[in-house]
Every structure is written in C-alpha cells, then in structure tokens.
C-alpha cells in the first residue's frame, strides 16, 4: 500500500470518517447483526453468545452488541492508521489465527457488510467513488488481519 494520498482518496475517506466516528454507535450493532443474518454460517464462532436463532434474537443479543462495538472500534483505528494496517493489526491477526481460529474469509464478509451498512445510512451520498474508497479500506483491514496467519 502506498501513502494515504495515493492509495486512498483522502478527502472522501475523511468525510465519511468524520461521520463514521460520530455515528460509531449506529454502525457497531447493525454491521455485526447484518453479518450474522446474511451469512449465518458466521455464527459458528459465537456458540457462547446464546440465542442467535432469529434476526430479532440476534438484534437483541447483548453479546452481539458488545462484540460489534469492539470490532467497529478496530475499524475506526484502521481508518486512523491506514499507512500501517499490518502493524496496527498484527496482534489481532495472531489472536484470530492462534486463539479464535477464524477463517480470514470472514473478514472480507464483515467488510462487505460494513460497506452495505454505510450505503444504507448515507444513501445517495455513498457514491461509487466513496464505495470504492471504503472497499479498499475494508480489503486492507481484511488483509492485515490475515497477515499473521500461519
């Protein structure tokens, strides 16, 4: 990845970042909920979370909400450290490989879901160019999270 200005159109990222950080509480819950509903096999990692039997059960599940918050806080960190994603996520990558045993494919799924949530929230403002910028960010995060897998 190149410098922020080259690889990511920073003005667009900056605009969505500002809104993203202010509205973080909106995105954490709904992104994780959407992942578990649209791609139900991702629930395999959350057997200890309790009731995931229906979309409304998932939406009301406090552990899903808490985990979503954790994950989205990490995304927020990613946006602030776009030139150092692999370093920023090195420890988390090791954790997901060695302890959590999460297939890295899931990082791509969550990234795509987050993009859908942003599109839903921002509507027409989420132009193709903004989508392109954000897909690059989530792809970068997914790669960084998979980087330490062995």
């Amino acid at each position: 990845m190149g410098a922020k200005g080259e690889y990511y159109p920073s003005k667009l990222i900056g605009k969505v970042l500002k809104i993203f950080c202010i509205s973080n509480f909106v995105f954490d819950m709904v992104s994780f909920h959407r992942l578990l509903v649209v791609y139900p096999w991702t629930q395999r990692f959350f057997d200890s979370f309790g009731n995931l039997s229906s979309p409304s059960a998932i939406l009301g599940n406090p552990k899903v909400k808490a985990h979503g918050k954790k994950v989205l806080t990490s995304f927020g960190d990613a946006i602030k450290n776009m030139d150092n994603l692999k370093i920023t996520f090195a420890k988390l990558s090791e954790l997901h490989c060695d302890k959590l045993h999460v297939d890295p494919e899931n990082f791509k799924l969550l990234g795509n879901v987050l993009v859908c949530v942003l599109a839903h929230h921002f509507g027409k403002e989420f132009t193709p160019q903004v989508q392109a910028a954000y897909q690059k960010v989530v792809a970068g995060v997914a790669n960084a999270l998979a980087h330490k897998y062995h």
Partner: protein, 141 residues
C-alpha cells in the same frame, strides 16, 4: 432451496426494483467498474467511456434477466439456460467476479432503498443471486 419466506422476500425486493431496471442496472455497472476496475475487461464497449445511454441500455438488459430469474426462481436452470450457454461459450466471465457484482447490487439497493431494504431481504436476495451465479457458471466445464 428457498423457503416460502425467502421467496416472499425476493419477490418484495423485485417489487422495489421493477420500473427502475435501467437506472439501477446502470448504477450497478458504474459501481462495479469504479470499485472493481478489473471487471471492465468484460465490458470493453461500455467501460472505456461510461456512456450513459449504453450503461442504461445494458443495465436494463441485465436487470430484466434478473427479473426473469425472479419469475422462475423455482426453475432457474431451465429459465437461464440460454444465458448460461452465453456465459460458458462466449462471455466466459471468471466465476470469482459474480460475488463482486452481487456486493455492488446490495450497495445499490441499500443506498437507494435504505430502510425499505431490510436485513432479511438482503439475506434472501444474496442467497438468490448466488444461486443465479451458480447456474450461469454451471456449464463452464
């Protein structure tokens, strides 16, 4: 296999698209080319100049085919057989590209329809489009 609920949700999604095939189809293609530039190789006549008329025309055609698939969601293989032949013998779009198109489709619907495009509808629509992609690439070998 689609449940009765999924069938209803897919039909609901189509009701929201019907009448806007050209507009949604053109935006779908524009997002595909912008977000995933490598996909442009499959649309040389469209992707170099982003001509609005051509995008609308091709978008209309693609979404009309999706609409036909919705009408025949229990008989996709038969209904999409000519398109499957086209993809296998002529277009030969690498199967890895269909998830990219599907992601852009979700983004078009989410950004235009917002609350009308619920999470449950996205789940059913994703399952349906993934099934369509499987049928379209089934004759590749």
């Amino acid at each position: 296999m689609l449940s009765a609920q999924e069938r209803a949700q897919i039909a609901q999604v189509w009701d929201l698209i019907a009448g806007h095939e050209a507009q949604f189809g053109a935006e779908l293609l524009l997002r595909l080319f912008t977000v995933y530039p490598s996909t442009k190789v499959y649309f040389p006549h469209l992707s170099s100049c982003h001509d609005a008329t051509q995008l609308l025309s091709h978008g209309q055609r693609m979404l009309a085919a999706v609409g036909a698939a919705v009408q025949h969601m229990d008989h996709l293989r038969a209904a999409l057989s000519p398109l499957a032949d086209l993809h296998a013998l002529v277009l030969r779009v690498d199967p890895a590209n269909f998830p990219l198109l599907i992601q852009c489709f979700h983004v078009v619907l989410a950004s235009h329809l917002q609350d009308e495009f619920t999470v449950e509808m996205q789940a059913a629509w994703d399952k349906f489009l993934t099934g369509v992609a499987v049928v379209l690439t089934e004759k590749y070998r």
